[in-house]
Symmetry: C2
Subunit: 324 residues, 2 copies
């Protein structure tokens, strides 16, 4: 049986408090990279906005007051230890962070970094949840639409070396994982490994309706498992979990195979490493049979997906006698 | 708390042998409608190709020799008892069948029938799995691409009376459920209730790769649960299960809510009724918050979904030193 193996680690982080500096987070991340090395991992996936607390819960009238949450260079003095550990252990890594560009644009960004320190692929989050202005109904603010622009890089996939293999890699960030369009755009580029980080509250804080708390993890897993199954790829979904300044985020990071099965799962809401040997040849079955896109997809019936943003009301059926 | 309740039944069928006539199937279906009435159901969902065995497993060189599997009129003498039971019990029903049109076109079709007997909505299956010609590699043939044309009605949704409510109804058939595009096209029309029937082998018979048998039900449920969650609708997935002339189909019909939760599940592979009270107002939470399409979707990033049918290879990344 053919096998094209890579050893993948998800490095879940516990909470980062608002007052904690990047040095504390980076120190924890380096220890997780050491642990990943001990497990023979060739790539480590860190969460979304991994260097700081999940700051979009904090409202700032003047966005410039939030500038200290963003990175303006990578590596920086504070993030250099991650790049050093990657080189030392010959391990690639995926990192989520808040990016501020030289011309002042702000994005929720992830990069995939080669052990050499070179950035192989960058993705900027497209599906920003939440809202732009202060929302008095909500229990906790979720200001991603305030703090970030919609990503402008599309959903890129590249074929890049990971461990000893060439792997088609792609990325999503947090809320992106709930949107099947994102997985499909990656799948149409033959993605084999989707890396994604998230910071997801353990309760729905919108307060516009009831959602049982235990469903939050189900929804995350359902989205990742179906995305992997329907696009015949591996997925690594990695949380920042635990209680940040009183605000609870769930953990339950997973590594998922192209059959939609969970191969490894974090069970704490703290720093925790999960590892799995992923045989990339497992992507072939779906891709050549039930999900052979060329044989079975019918884009002529999918027009609404790109032709409209919001939903539209369906026509009303009238019984025969009522029609004029 | 607002409630807009309808009582929905899924009427799973056990196997129908190749030699059995429609009278046997229809008799069983009428008994399931009686049972649904006793449970207070206002709509009953029957499986795909509910009137006969799953005939696309049988190869015919001359397709005319398969004509006896198709309906040319609905109701016919043989299907009239279903329409009579619907009127008697004031119960709507969803029926899958093979359709041959007056001009000789063949479709894998489903209809939603008002208790009056009037056909409210018709759908013709778009994602035909399998193959067109005899495949010597396969253990069992799956000739849907031989016996049916691709459906030509799109994915229609209408607002129609079900029980005492006006409900946005839509339909999928079997393999359609695995394609997130189908759910999304329905979701973009504010579908509240998706009805779908299936005939799905309990083992992957393609023999081009290994798939553990127990994953077959997982894949079906994963597709329905994520489709319901990501489009904030109810779904009723109903099997024809059991052993048809030596060929095993799984059961495990489900009714699923807009949170992706399974509300009712068949546990036999035989005739079995499942029932759930569906509060259509549960569709509102997703639709107005996390899956508020107008606020969060980004069609400008989804172009590939309609611009290409098959997948394309990604570019190869080259380390800086290797670039010219």
């Amino acid at each position: 049986m053919s096998q094209r193996l890579i050893t993948v680690a998800g490095a879940q982080l516990g909470p980062i408090q608002k007052a904690e500096g990047r040095d504390i987070a980076v120190g924890r991340m380096v220890r997780l990279m050491e642990r990943a090395h001990r497990h023979g991992a060739q790539v480590v996936v860190f969460p979304e906005l991994a260097l700081t607390t999940f700051f979009p819960r904090w409202y700032e009238e003047d966005i410039a007051n939030a500038d200290h949450w963003y990175e303006t260079a990578l590596p920086s003095n504070e993030t250099a230890p991650l790049f050093e550990a990657a080189r030392k252990y010959s391990i690639a890594f995926h990192l989520g962070y808040a990016e501020k560009t030289p011309d002042g644009r702000r994005f929720n960004t992830a990069v995939f970094v080669h052990p050499s320190g070179e950035i192989v692929l960058k993705y900027r989050k497209i599906h920003l949840p939440g809202h732009k202005d202060y929302d008095p109904v909500r229990q906790v603010q979720h200001l991603e639409k305030r703090y970030f622009e919609v990503g402008d890089l599309g959903f890129p996939v590249v074929r890049a070396p990971v461990g000893g293999q060439d792997v088609n890699i792609g990325m999503l960030i947090c809320n992106d994982r709930r949107w099947p369009e994102t997985w499909r755009v990656l799948g149409l580029q033959q993605v084999e490994l989707v890396m994604l980080g998230y910071n997801t509250p353990s309760i729905n804080q919108d307060r516009r309706g009831f959602e049982a708390h235990h469903l939050r993890v189900l929804h995350s897993h359902l989205s990742i498992q179906s995305g992997c199954y329907q696009n015949a790829c591996f997925g690594v979904g990695v949380a920042k979990g635990g209680v940040e300044d009183g605000h609870e985020l769930f953990g339950h990071s997973i590594i998922c195979n192209p059959q939609g099965e969970i191969m490894a799962q974090a069970t704490s809401w703290d720093d925790e490493l999960i590892v799995a040997d992923c045989d990339l040849d497992m992507c072939n079955l779906g891709r050549t049979t039930i999900f052979n896109f060329a044989a079975h997809r019918r884009p002529e019936a999918y027009g609404r997906i790109v032709e409209q943003v919001g939903s539209s009301e369906p026509p009303v059926w009238q019984p025969r006698g009522a029609r004029r």
